[in-house]
């Protein structure tokens, strides 16, 4: 045992074994991602999925209950609901993504200008945004919807996008303001880096994760807004199939007891919203951990 007591000095430390991080992988919402992927694929390639033309009005089979011939039944005009779900999902998802993209662009522009600009400009823009926000967004959308255009997917996406940016802009502005004070931006300014370099190298990559979550949540609220508008009859008309316009027949369906016309599109709508929410929450958790540079 005595040979253990010879002086050997420092030896390099054993490298610590990396332990696989089970918790973070467990956080990925597989089910939601898979469902979303299935919905998006199904809607994109709806021609392969649909048994019949969704616009075809089979007047002999109006308001049929779900069964062998019509998997999800037919609506009051004899259209096959199963086909309409996929075809209409296209419009709903398109509105969601387009509107979120529109509002994200506006939000990033406004938020960055406010965050970097002088205090008076920031105060003015924020004050105007507040005023803009004080009208219930639905009312605002109806107003804009009436003013801008009528009843196309792009039109609806534009109006919904035009009303959805202030929340994101606020987050961008707060992030930019916070980052502007942060050590590494001060350090970069010390080195003499220009505005573009700052924006591109330091600001954008660092506020992107924080707003990604908001943008995903905006997809969700845009889909909801489209459905609500179309349901109320101010969005997409009955002929343009979307989940919202399918639900606009609900009133008649309720009185006639055709529950499937109300329940089935709504279920798909809610499930999609839920999946998007889960993905958004996951993105937020990741942004909070701040570990996605690794």
């Amino acid at each position: 045992m005595d040979e253990g007591f010879t002086l050997v000095g420092m030896r390099p430390a054993e490298p610590s074994r990396p332990v696989p991080d089970r918790r973070r992988r467990g956080g990925i919402p597989f089910l939601s991602l898979a469902f979303l992927a299935a919905m998006i694929l199904g809607c994109l390639f709806c021609r392969l999925v649909m048994p019949v033309d969704p616009g075809y009005m089979d007047l002999a089979n109006c308001a049929r209950a779900p069964g062998r011939a019509f998997l999800f039944g037919t609506d009051a005009m004899g259209r096959d609901i199963f086909s309409m779900i996929w075809y209409g999902g296209r419009a709903s998802l398109a509105v969601g993504f387009l509107a979120a993209a529109v509002s994200a662009c506006i939000a990033v522009a406004v938020g960055t200008v406010c965050g970097l600009g002088p205090d008076w400009l920031d105060g003015l823009v924020m004050r105007l945004t507040e005023i803009f926000l004080s009208i219930p967004s639905l009312l605002l959308v109806m107003l804009l919807q009436a003013a801008l255009s009528r009843s196309t997917v792009a039109g609806i996406a534009l109006t919904v996008g035009l009303t959805g940016w202030p929340r994101v802009a606020k987050v961008v502005r707060a992030q930019v303001r916070q980052l502007r004070q942060s050590g590494y931006v001060v350090a970069a300014r010390c080195m003499g880096s220009g505005l573009f370099h700052l924006l591109w190298r330091h600001l954008a990559p660092n506020f992107f994760p924080a707003i990604l979550f908001m943008v995903v949540m905006n997809v969700r609220s845009a889909i909801t807004a489209e459905a609500t508008l179309s349901f109320l009859g101010v969005g997409l008309p009955l002929e343009v199939i979307s989940w919202g316009s399918m639900l606009s027949q609900a009133e008649g369906a309720l009185t006639s007891g055709a529950w499937w016309i109300v329940v089935i599109p709504g279920l798909f709508l809610t499930a999609t919203l839920l999946a998007i929410t889960q993905v958004g929450e996951w993105l937020r958790r990741r942004a909070d951990q701040g570990g996605d540079a690794l």
């Binding site: 253990g4 007591f5 000095g9 420092m10 050590g183 590494y184």
Partner: protein
């Protein structure tokens, strides 16, 4: 006699995403009534977890095991939350590090003390509780207790808040006080008062205390006994004089040898190589072995047991085994004699000339704070100029004004004949950008978390379109990284993958990549552990000797400044009150504030600390009205009416 606190074989582990972290490993410890024990160790050594375990306040992801854990004769293992609650506050209570967050900002301090008083005496009347709260505020020597009773925490200074926290902790007359880094966030002058207070309270009320700290000097000042912790274990424990006077564990040797306060002027510090190990899972054998130049072969195989040195002094190292070879390390255990102060006028060409720098920050509510008040000084080429000041003294504002980050409201900064806040030509602007570099305190904040070390180091070159002298930007980064003592494997790491010391090295490498003539370092050591501080301090010294750059070193740590700098200026509330060659300043301080600072700074020598009179002064009351006059050759000071030159 029954001990107040008895801990036997206590282990605490945390379930973290990266695996199970064994934060406290097999700790045995006891504490007599009325005794003050300092628990010393670097961050992550498990000292806070130990305190939490005693309080029964471990987070939900922690597991605890102990053969014995009793306080005042009560075994608290497995006690239910309700029963624990009865003990908390009454038998033991706690003071936390950060006085800014440990009070509820929405309640007055009086209400919070009263609440603590009534928590164990619910039947106490309102007036009675208030009277008791005021008594407690008197006890902790909070000035104007009655006037402060109805104040909110936000209206008090950090030191005052910590006194309130102490009053709350003492509300129900606990027998044991667990103080977790109670003075780390405070200035030395306030720290000295709080440490003295701990001893006063022990004398008056017989309250025992466990003082958790990373600072050996704090332990020397306040503690009767000292326990040194490393990687979750106690490696050495004994009476303060024993641990400081006759240290036995190589880790304690290393810690003491890395303290600038114990080093002679001109001597280099010993820096413990490497970093503390991760504890998930802990290494086999002695965790310190791979940083220990006296490691024995057995250290890599088996954990050492506690060997007794005397009846009260124990150390866990195989070097104390009778079979081990006799090694001793000469560690200086008392303060060195001061060097002969030199009195000479500064020589050399002026590089940076600061004149009458004044800046006032507006506060909400129409008030304002004067951060800089007519500060003037000159730095000559090749000089290491130290600037000492407590928080709020304006030292960072000064750095920002010098570096063109913040435009001062009055005064000029002239660098190499160029007024940096004047109208600049393109060439001048470029010269200023490349010729001056800065290292910030918070290396985690000053490095973009989404860039690799190589990108970070090369960034100033890329931004200024400098052709890299070594071919590519990456080669340049590798060279600089090597220069600050990191190997190329770190090139592709992100800041989050580096330790604090490594990050600071990257920040220094980035600053040096531009080959600056002036380097400004704003509190570069403040966020680092003692052994890492020594590493960085030595690195600065080495680099400066190699490069010959001029160095403005801003810090609050008097010992580090003394170790590194040629000349030192003292900032007090925005005003430069004293300016002198280093040794001259430390041996013959002229301004009362400089003297107070030197008096208040704790020294890692318990014998000397015992003999020191308690220090008590009002931080805000020093005279700073006069002009800076040359009192001796090269020694300038603000001298008021009653202060005569020596």
């Amino acid at each position: 006699m029954e001990k107040l606190l008895q801990i036997e074989h206590l282990s605490v582990c945390f379930d973290a995403p990266a695996g199970t972290v064994e934060a406290v490993r097999d700790v045995t410890l006891d504490l007599a009534a009325g005794e003050i024990l300092a628990l010393v160790g670097e961050s992550g050594c498990g000292k806070s977890a130990l305190c939490r375990a005693v309080m029964g306040l471990l987070p939900a992801n922690a597991r605890m095991e102990a053969a014995r854990l009793s306080v005042a004769g009560t075994d608290i293992r497995g006690l239910r939350e309700r029963d624990m609650r009865r003990l908390r506050g009454k038998v033991f209570s706690m003071v936390l590090q950060d006085p800014m967050t440990s009070l509820d900002p929405t309640c007055t301090v009086g209400a919070q003390i009263t609440e603590a008083v009534r928590s164990h005496a619910p039947k106490l009347g309102k007036d009675e509780a208030r009277r008791r709260a005021l008594e407690l505020m008197e006890l902790v020597k909070l000035d104007g207790a009655a006037a402060r009773y109805d104040r909110y925490p936000g209206e008090l200074s950090g030191g005052q808040r910590q006194l309130v926290v102490l009053a709350i902790a003492l509300a129900s007359g606990p027998k044991l006080l667990l103080a977790d880094e109670p003075t780390t966030a405070l200035d030395v002058t306030v720290q000295a008062q709080i440490l003295d207070l701990l001893r006063d309270i022990r004398r008056e009320l017989g309250t025992a205390a466990v003082l958790v700290t990373h600072d050996l000097a704090v332990a020397a000042r306040a503690a009767d006994r000292v326990a040194v912790m490393y990687a979750g274990k106690i490696v050495e424990i004994g009476r303060a004089e024993e641990v400081f006077g006759d240290p036995r564990h190589p880790y304690t040797w290393g810690l003491l040898a890395s303290l600038p306060a114990l080093a002679k002027k001109g001597e280099s510090l010993y820096a413990i190589p490497g970093m503390p190990p991760t504890l998930a899972p802990p290494p086999k054998g002695d965790a310190f072995a791979c940083r220990n130049e006296f490691a024995l072969a057995i250290d890599y195989e088996r954990q050492p047991p506690m060997f007794p040195v005397t009846d009260t002094h124990f150390a866990a190292t195989w070097l104390l085994d009778p079979r081990a070879p006799k090694v001793t390390r000469s560690v200086r255990t008392g303060l060195p004699d001061a060097a002969e102060p030199e009195r000479r006028p500064p020589a050399g060409e002026v590089l940076l000339d600061v004149k009458g720098l004044t800046h006032r920050f507006p506060l909400p509510g129409g008030r304002s704070v004067l951060a800089l008040d007519g500060v003037s000084f000159q730095i000559r080429k090749g000089e290491i100029f130290g600037l000492v000041g407590q928080s709020g003294s304006g030292k960072s504002t000064l750095a920002r004004c010098v570096m063109n980050i913040l435009r001062p409201q009055a005064g000029t900064v002239v660098y190499q004949g160029v007024d940096v806040w004047g109208r600049l030509s393109r060439a001048e602007r470029r010269m200023l950008r490349t010729d001056r570099q800065i290292v910030f305190q918070d290396s985690a904040g000053s490095l973009d978390p989404r860039m690799t070390a190589s990108e970070l180091i090369a960034e100033p070159l890329a931004v200024n379109h400098v052709v890299p002298p070594r071919g590519s930007l990456r080669a340049e980064a590798a060279f600089q990284l090597h220069y600050v003592g990191l190997d190329p494997s770190y090139l592709d790491k992100y800041p989050a993958q580096l330790s604090g010391g490594q990050r600071q090295r990257v920040a220094i490498a980035r600053a040096l990549a531009m080959e600056p003539s002036l380097l400004v370092a704003d509190e570069p050591l403040a966020a680092l552990d003692a052994s890492i501080q020594a590493q960085i301090l030595e690195l600065f010294k080495h680099l400066q000797a190699q490069h010959g750059f001029t160095f403005l070193f801003i810090a609050h740590d008097l010992a580090a400044v003394r170790h590194l700098c040629d000349r030192v200026g003292v900032l007090y509330r925005g005003k430069l009150v004293e300016l002198a060659p280093t040794e001259e300043l430390y041996v013959n301080p002229l301004h009362p504030y400089t003297r107070a600072l030197l008096e208040a700074a704790p020294l890692p020598d318990p014998v000397r600390e015992r003999r020191r009179p308690p220090c008590r002064f009002d931080e805000a009351a020093f005279d700073r009205s006069g002009p800076l006059v040359e009192a001796a050759l090269g020694h300038f000071a603000v001298l008021g009416g009653e202060e005569a030159a020596p």
